[in-house]
Each structure stands twice: as structure tokens, then as C-alpha cells.
Symmetry: C2
Subunit: 260 residues, 2 copies
DNA sequence: CGAACGCTTGAATCCAGTCAACCCCCGTGG
DNA sequence: CCACGGGGGTTGACTGGATTCAAGCGTTCG
């Protein structure tokens, strides 16, 4: 069971549902950043008993706010978003989630937000009921969750400052600034962002309307700060100007912000 | 030492800093709702080795965003607030905290927000370095923290919806609605709120200006929804109307929202 | 007593929202 | 093959809700 020579195909062919063996976990995009990163190579196989992989098509719902909360998820491929919706259609996206990010953790009976895929995505699904057992067997899993949860809380506070106190230009610039850091464009000496979300998604994330997002991006393009390529491409032409527009120093801490 | 007949004064008079004995912990306002609630009466004494009590005068700072994070705090008396401030004076209050709420938990080197007392307050102070030891000795402490942290995250998401998508009237009404539930006015058949914060604090919590807060409260008074008594008193005259103004059903879940 | 602060109110301003038109792209189906 | 429809995006004109600026009131405090 702990031998790593089992071919991936063996694990994947076990039945109707796709169960990851050692290899899928070892090769997983989220391996270095998700919960399972606390388990060494020799213990990663133990997840077989806990985890199911699920594929969600672009635009598909993973769960709805108010649904009975039976699972905890980790995004392993693609991008998802978490959001709240009111009766009248108003929507607030609370986070965009990428490989390694988690979804659905809470200690209530029901999910407190909805989750949808931005593009074709894959998630690891844990039974909430199994988590307690997992915590007992591997306390470092719980350490990791606590750490990650407090990180998300810190990001949420940054977002609250943005929503409550920044104007449209600062909001868009901050958003792009975090995207640049999330994708490590700078360290890779690249300038091209490929955003998986629509203008409407950006608006609903920043507390704006589509029109304002569009106008603001146009203003930044005319000013030479960025270039636009198609619907999803953003070329960062003047990163320092972007930083200035985002609001400069405080309340702009990409190092600690995991969720953008 | 475990004998409960020791007068509180003995424990409090031990020296320059105030060290709680069993009795202060047992009589603590936060006893039933804070981290220490997971420790039974027989084990509460063990906190002596970990905890120091600190008093903060109204308006006093507990710590600043960016300060080296050495402590974790639990509010035991009074009210505090957590906030972020920009160079230009813009401020976003991220939470008001009362007996049982926690402050300063994070896994970075520095505090990610500032904390200030709204009125004379008392906090329990834990060394961050001691927390790991505490987790090992009492895993339920870590369970509690994770649970509480995910609750705070849920509240933060509600607040993000409020900041990004609600108008002034809905913001104020939601704020008062949560205050009503926090103080359990309804179950006690009372209608009088005594808010510890100023209009400016409310404005900085809701992403508004003082003037808008004042005007909106006036409008609710003229409409007969509430009455105002002095600077801090609010009389809830029509709770159903308040609920309607707050936005009705979704995104209004006082049961799970601990921080308002 | 005067200064400071918190709160309220009024008038004017402005930033973002609303409403509407139009473009482009893409998938669909005649 | 092309006509069509729909969705996403952009732009313009106008509106409006919240901010800004300013003044005044009551209370507190040195």
C-alpha cells in the first residue's frame, strides 16, 4: 500500500468514481500548496481512504449557499469562485480560488456561500465527517487548516478595506496587482495576465458594475499602464504605475494574501 | 491552589501585572464563550501558566498593524475594535469585539490589523510561542480556534456582501439588526441598545461617512423604526421594519455571525 | 469660559450607477 | 454558406445616492 510503484492507471480504474492513487497525488498541481502538502510522500497514500476527485465543467455549480454541508473541497485544477447572491440578483464574489485553495470548510450544517467553476476545474472532495478522524491521525492537517483559515481571514480583511474605502481605479489596480503576484509574473519576467473571469465577475468581486470596470480598464489602457488583448488578456506595461494606482504601501500585502 | 475559596483579591494582588487565579477564570464574563470554555473547571487552573490579564483604557491601542506579533488575545470585558488604516487617514473597521472574541491570531511575524478599545476593556494575553504547547496538551483548544476562525471567515463574507452590494439604509439596518441579536434583546424582551461606538466608528465599519450615518439614522427615526436616546442609545421600535430594511432573508444570518 | 469633540443638518458636488446603443465574436440552425 | 441570436464588452448621456464642504448645536473637559 505504501509502495510507490503502483501505476496510476491501477488507482484510476478502480470503479465508477475516480479514486487517486499515489501517483495522481504526487503529480497533483496542488501537491505543494494544499492541505495534503503536510503529508510526506510516504503517507500520501493514506488519502485514498478519504478523497474523491470531481470534475466540474466551466460555469458548473459545486454547491449552493444553504445546501447541507457534507464535503470539504480542495481545488486541484482550474479556477473556481465563491460568492453570495441576494433574491434580487445582487451578487458579491468573496473569492477566486485556484489550485491548492480550499472550499466549503465550516462547522455548520450548511454551506455559507455558493461555489462555481470559472473554467473546467477539478477538486478533491473530503467527507466532513471524515475530517475529525483525519485530524486525530494527522494533527498537522488541522494545523495547516488553522493556518490557512487565518490567512484567508487576513485576506478577507484586506478585501473589506478595498470594498469599503477604495474608489474604482484603486479597486481595479489592486485586483490586477494581486493577479500579477499570484501568477508570479514578475519573478518570471513576464507581463501577460490571462484572467479566467469575465468583467461581470470582476465587478461583482470589487463591488462595482460592469460598465465601471470596463471604463476604468479603458482609462488605464489610454494612460499606458496596461494593454488589453482580447477579452481575457491584460498586458502589464507599467507595474510601478499600477502599484501607485492600487494605493501604494499599506493595506497592500501580496505576501500574506493567498486569495485574490 | 485548586481550592476555590481563595478570594479573587489574592490572585489579583500578586504584583505589578495582574495574574488570574482559578476564581477570576471561573467568574470571567468570557468563560462560556472564549477559547478557555473547552477546558473544564478542573483544568482551568492550567491557564495560570499561559495567561496574563491586561487592562486597556477607552481609546487605548492594544497593538498596531505591522507590529511584531507576539501575543494572542481574548477580550474578557468591554469592547474592542479591529481596523486597518491607510496613510491618508481612510480607515476600515473590520470587526467589533466583545467578551469571548479573539484578537491577533495569525501565523505571520506581524499583526495584520490594529486593535483599539472602545471603552475600558480587559483582555487575556497568551504568548504566541506558548500556543503550540497548549495545542499539544489540549487539542480541543485548537479545534475551538479552527471553529471560531471559520465562523469569523463566514461573518467576514457577509460583511463583504454588505460593503460591496448594500446601500446606506440597508447597511445601517443590518448593523442594528445584528446588534439586536448580539445582545439578545429580543429573547429578553428589551428594545434598548447601548452602542459602545461613535457614529464615525459605525461609518468606518460600514464603508460610509459620518454624515450619511447620521442622516440615515435620522430617516429611520422619522419613519418610526427606531428612537434615539442621547449619543449611544437606540430604541428599537419596529423590529420587523428593521429586518425589512436590512434586506430580508438571505445574507442575513445572525445565528452564525459572531462578529458584528 | 473657551476649545474640542461628537452629532446633526443643509447645499453643492461628483463618482459611480443606470439606461441605452452598438460592436464583436461565436455558436446554431436554416 | 450565411443569417440570426445571444452574450460579453465598450462607450455615451444622464441620473442619483453618497460625499464633500460648511455651519451650528450641545456636551465635556482642561
Amino acid at each position: 500500500m505504501n509502495e510507490a510503484h503502483t501505476p496510476a492507471i491501477d488507482a484510476l480504474a478502480l470503479g465508477g468514481r475516480i479514486v487517486p492513487g499515489d501517483l495522481p497525488c504526487l503529480l497533483c498541481q496542488a501537491r505543494s500548496s494544499a492541505v495534503c502538502s503536510v503529508l510526506g510522500e510516504e503517507r500520501i497514500a493514506c488519502l485514498n481512504d478519504f478523497v474523491v476527485r470531481r470534475r466540474i465543467d466551466a460555469g458548473g455549480r459545486l454547491f449552493d449557499e444553504g445546501d447541507p454541508a457534507a464535503h470539504y473541497f480542495v481545488v486541484t485544477e482550474g479556477a473556481m469562485m465563491a460568492f453570495k447572491e441576494a433574491h434580487d440578483g445582487r451578487r458579491q464574489i468573496t473569492g477566486f480560488l485556484y489550485a491548492g485553495d480550499m472550499l466549503g470548510l465550516n462547522h455548520h450544517q450548511r454551506y455559507v456561500y455558493s461555489a462555481e467553476a470559472l473554467n473546467d476545474a477539478v477538486v478533491c472532495q473530503y467527507e466532513i465527517a471524515d475530517l475529525r478522524e483525519l485530524f486525530r491521525a494527522y494533527p498537522e492537517v488541522e494545523h495547516w487548516l488553522l493556518r490557512h483559515c487565518s490567512d484567508e481571514l487576513a485576506s478577507a480583511h484586506d478585501q473589506m478595506f478595498l470594498l469599503g474605502r477604495k474608489n474604482a481605479m484603486e479597486k481595479i489596480a489592486t485586483f490586477l496587482w494581486f493577479q500579477v503576484h499570484r501568477t508570479r509574473l514578475r519573478s518570471r519576467n513576464l507581463t501577460l495576465l490571462d484572467l479566467p473571469m469575465t468583467r461581470r465577475d470582476i465587478a461583482d468581486y470589487l463591488g462595482l458594475t460592469v460598465e465601471t470596470v470596463s471604463r476604468t480598464i479603458t482609462r488605464m489602457r489610454l494612460a499606458g499602464t496596461i494593454g488589453t488583448i482580447g477579452k481575457h488578456g491584460i498586458d502589464i506595461l507599467d507595474i510601478e504605475d499600477l502599484r501607485q494606482r492600487a494605493g501604494g504601501g499599506r493595506a497592500l500585502r501580496p505576501a500574506t494574501a493567498r486569495r485574490v
